[in-house]
Symmetry: C2
Subunit: 302 residues, 2 copies
């Protein structure tokens, strides 16, 4: 299955989990219409569904049951969406548009957008727990998968990366060690956890050869993903503004391209892609989906 | 043990979980100093530690292991704190003081306060998962306890109550059904879940006689807790402003006191207290802690 095919499956499940709700006084135990519609607005706003697709593709590759992988996959997308909703808030990036549509707080107001983000993170956890309770024969694997996803998003994962990213932006702090910390946590962790969670659901130990190879792929792919974004930022700026490229290329934001210039960033991206490819050797032809992701990254910057 | 004694035990554990951190570039896998200190600031700002104390007291009453109840108890306090940090934000209640100290966003900035709240909810979940992984012999009870806590805080629980509370405040909506929904979810659910989580850890089924009795107590105590708050709001207003009490008593906020007047609210509070007391019959003398909580509520409004 291709990324697009996995995305369609995830999209259908998300739509089922968060249907459009009519305005009415909620019953005890019901999700209120306003919260549901605010969450739905941002979840159904498009996107590649990359993280859930990676979890499903990895589960398929390792022979885990699709039925057991679907809710964890959706949980990943809810967490990714919560991070975008909170990121766009006036107190953070203050963005009014995302994917061409008004951001959540523009439509629902700042207070409801904060709660929609809180709700999406909560709902992600609720889905993970529901999944564990539905598969008691695999409690160990379920709890381990939960651990990978929640820790990847948590205080030494995604939230940690956002905290340091905001700190650098506001305080002008920098340096390569901090940059690597931010990229690893803000971006890579949520691309590693789909793979490690799928491995856990498939019954693989966290230190098994397969899980280690998948982790290596996730780290390199995650850093590559961020590197490509940063390169496109600079190339975009060059094209639109005719800016010179060098130490201060891009918007002044701390990136590898601003640290080492565009050529340095491109060399690093090529190296990361090769290392990611190498780490898939163990899986042979079964890893076609993950080779495909690397091809599409190369295509973006070519 | 008294509420104060349980609170001291919880306080010590929270202090250990979130020690003051020195400013330095974080290592991969580490919580960044800034996030940790922002979370610590609000967690260690005092408070009665009512929710964790209720979980520990209930675990003691039912004979669950204290060692297995401690992290879920702390998770409850982290969730309670996250809700306060986000509630105080400019986009929500816009409060600059809580318990006599500047609120989180006043000290750390709005963006970091949003992330501190996100971090506290994430960390709560991380602790619950850590606890489950540390007690694999009781996976079923652990996952069930997790379910009670996370659902109580989630999109059909606390977040739902906050969403409708904010909606009523901004849109001027009201009515008794909506008021009950808000009180049940915003306040009562997080006072029910400590009891149901403790029962789950003790190996009791969600529909056991004990769990049903504890739930009944939690519902009545939770509604009483909110009722007492609302009565004190009105009495406070009367004392300080000499306001007349009736349909529009208090600050115009939708409460039972504004719906039925102070006498009506007091009669209702007495009834809730009696019903809460009755639901403890099953536990006899072992429920002294929970009778004590009702006594302290009666004391507040006498």
């Amino acid at each position: 299955m291709t990324l697009r095919e996995y995305a369609a499956v995830v999209e259908e499940k998300l739509d089922e989990l968060l249907p459009e709700a009519d305005k009415r006084t909620p019953e005890i135990g019901e999700v209120p219409w306003l919260l549901q519609n605010a969450m739905r607005y941002s979840v159904m706003a498009g996107g590649k569904r990359l993280r859930p697709a990676m979890l499903l593709a990895c589960a398929d590759m390792l022979g885990a049951a699709r039925g057991e992988a679907m809710l964890p996959a959706c949980a990943l997308e809810l967490i990714h969406t919560y991070s975008l909703v909170h990121d766009d808030l006036p107190g953070m990036d203050n963005d009014t548009l995302r994917r061409g549509r008004p951001t959540n707080h523009v439509v629902f107001g700042e207070g409801q957008a904060i709660l929609a983000g809180d709700g999406l993170l909560s709902l992600a956890m609720e889905l993970l727990i529901e999944n564990a309770m539905a598969h008691p024969a695999n409690y160990a694997g379920e709890v381990l998968a939960m651990n990978e996803i929640i820790r990847g998003a948590g205080v030494s994962g995604m939230v940690a990366g956002q905290c340091m990213d905001l700190y650098c932006e506001r305080e002008g702090a920098g340096g390569e060690a901090l940059l690597t910390y931010i990229h690893m946590n803000k971006t890579a962790r949520m691309l590693i956890s789909p793979l490690r969670a799928a491995a856990a659901l498939a019954g693989l130990a966290p230190d098994s050869e397969e899980t280690r190879a998948l982790t290596a792929y996730g780290v390199k792919f995650g850093l590559l993903f961020q590197a490509v974004d940063d390169i496109l930022d600079v190339v975009g700026d060059e094209k639109t503004l005719g800016k010179s490229v060098g130490k201060d290329a891009g918007s002044g934001k701390l990136t590898y391209a601003t640290l080492y210039g565009l050529d340095g960033a491109r060399t690093r991206a090529d190296r990361l892609a090769q290392e990611a490819r190498d780490s898939l050797a163990l899986f042979g032809d079964r890893a076609a989906f993950f080779h495909g992701l690397l091809d599409s990254m190369a295509h973006r910057v070519s």
